[in-house]
Subunit: 314 residues, 2 copies
């Protein structure tokens, strides 16, 4: 039996947030629908932040309302605080991704509060969600940014990652995301951090969110797979970065990640050719956005059989 891997598209949020040109709502929806049709089961479609702060997400309500109509798609959105969480609940989004930084400096710069206050905020958000009527409670995710390095502080201690992972779980997280926000991680560090978190946090999905800022993104995925991680964030064409992390460039490239996993015989559920096709629509909508990725240039290997067909043939 093939191991099932869950991929989550974050390009519409992490990818677009640093891009100053607004992507028209109709183009965002075309992207979301096409990627859902390609087999992507989960997409982070927007962020519930004030449009004054990030104009790119001025259409958060429309994008959410339309996305949750797509059959079979799990629709997620980022929230920085209670206000965002309340908006998400009102809109009926399926999953809320709360984010705090493991590095104190990055947390202060990103959400303007100490880490302990972020944990307290998260606790209140969980309480608010639990007050909702059954069937209207979104999945609540605790996200740990800068867990593998910080562009202000440099190395981040593994102890702190574990401390805040445990804090978010104790506060009521349904899932965790451990993020290399600025692309500092190497495979040994990934193994060390994920093993340490997994030793303390069990029976809870833990996703890896890597950036490819220094070329190590897919190597880090390999290391995380070795630890048993099966949930990965990525963005089409490697769009992305962090507006508050100087020097950071894109997320790992979804189609390259998907090719690697499929080639390894893992079941992503995603159609590689359809995935690569979507790049054209993104490029047409935002001609000045930086597109990354090797597979789109090189194409699939000669006579390449997707994992699903290889298994069927075997």
């Amino acid at each position: 039996m093939k191991q099932k891997i869950t991929l989550r598209e974050v390009g519409l949020r992490d990818g677009l947030q640093i891009h100053s040109t607004f992507m028209p709502t109709v183009d965002k929806m075309a992207w979301i629908k096409a990627e859902a049709a390609a087999g992507m089961s989960e997409i982070e479609v927007t962020s519930y932040v004030p449009p004054k702060l990030i104009p790119q997400f001025a259409d958060a309500a429309e994008v959410t309302e339309q996305s949750i109509q797509i059959p079979g798609l799990l629709v997620a959105a980022l929230i920085p605080n209670m206000r965002g969480a309340q908006r998400g609940v009102e809109l009926g989004v399926h999953k809320l991704n709360f984010v705090m930084s493991v590095s104190e400096t990055h947390n202060m710069k990103n959400v303007r509060r100490p880490r302990e206050d972020s944990v307290a905020d998260f606790r209140e958000i969980v309480a608010m969600i639990r007050q909702q009527p059954e069937g209207q409670r979104p999945i609540i995710v605790g996200g740990l940014s800068t867990a593998l390095g910080c562009s202000y502080e440099g190395r981040v201690s593994v102890k702190d990652v574990v401390k805040y992972a445990v804090a978010l779980v104790e506060a009521g997280a349904d899932e965790l995301v451990v993020a290399d926000t600025v692309g500092y991680a190497d495979p040994n560090q990934v193994r060390e951090v994920f093993k340490a978190v997994l030793a303390e946090v069990k029976h809870l999905p833990i996703a890896a969110h890597f950036h490819d800022t220094r070329g190590t993104g897919l190597a880090n995925v390999t290391a995380a797979l070795d630890c048993g991680i099966v949930h990965f964030d990525a963005s089409l064409a490697g769009l992305g970065g962090c507006p508050f992390a100087p020097g950071a460039s894109g997320n790992i490239v979804m189609e390259d990640l998907c090719f690697m996993l499929d080639s390894m015989g893992l079941d992503t559920g995603v159609d590689l050719n359809k995935l690569v096709e979507i790049r054209k629509a993104i490029a047409a909508s935002l001609p000045d956005i930086a597109m990354h990725g090797a597979l789109a240039k090189a194409g699939l290997p000669r006579n390449y059989l997707p994992a699903s067909e290889r298994l069927a043939a075997a």
Copy 2:
């Protein structure tokens, strides 16, 4: 104790051979000297092929003669046949990299002979080298191209890789190189192939030569490290490809590889900052060559301490 990793620069051969503009000999030598000064212990400086076939290597003699004067540098060159081997021996090069393809079609296209004839050629080359006076015998390396996929045949059987690895060792190879010439490999396949080769070929250095054509290069390095491989080919700025493999782009990026290994706490012996500096000279010499690499764009992480200093501080 830190694990020692040997990196080998192949950009002057694998990188330049597909580039039609001749890099002046003086620029090649500046590159080689600068990289040796950065701590690179082994460089494949040229290829002994007829200049009519690849004009880039018209200065093979001068480059070899000057390179072997650089103290502490192991100077290697590629050879396609006996004629190339004889030139190498005459020039006093330290190491000869013989290359054949595991895929029959690629071998026919690349060196215009069946694989079995290539093995026979290699046997004769080894015999010729052994006839040389002691102290004048270069190290002879058996290289297996398309060992992880072929742009003509697609997947390549692991059995064939092992078969030709054993054949080259039996014929007298001092070392092996197992190459993903066209960038088809994934980490699982790397583990499978290298484990299979290592099971049959012991007590002999085996190097991995990966291309990053589909973005999996450093992930494949991680997988090879897991198997115990400690010798890696790469090229500065990811220059390279194979003229006979349609669609193939560059080798893995030396400076990104070096950053990943150093970050993992492995001892490459190479100074990362000096390495990145050399890119400028290459770009100045060949303004139209495609330069790849993430580290050069993003820079080292904040407060980054090289592995050597981390160990000293610990």
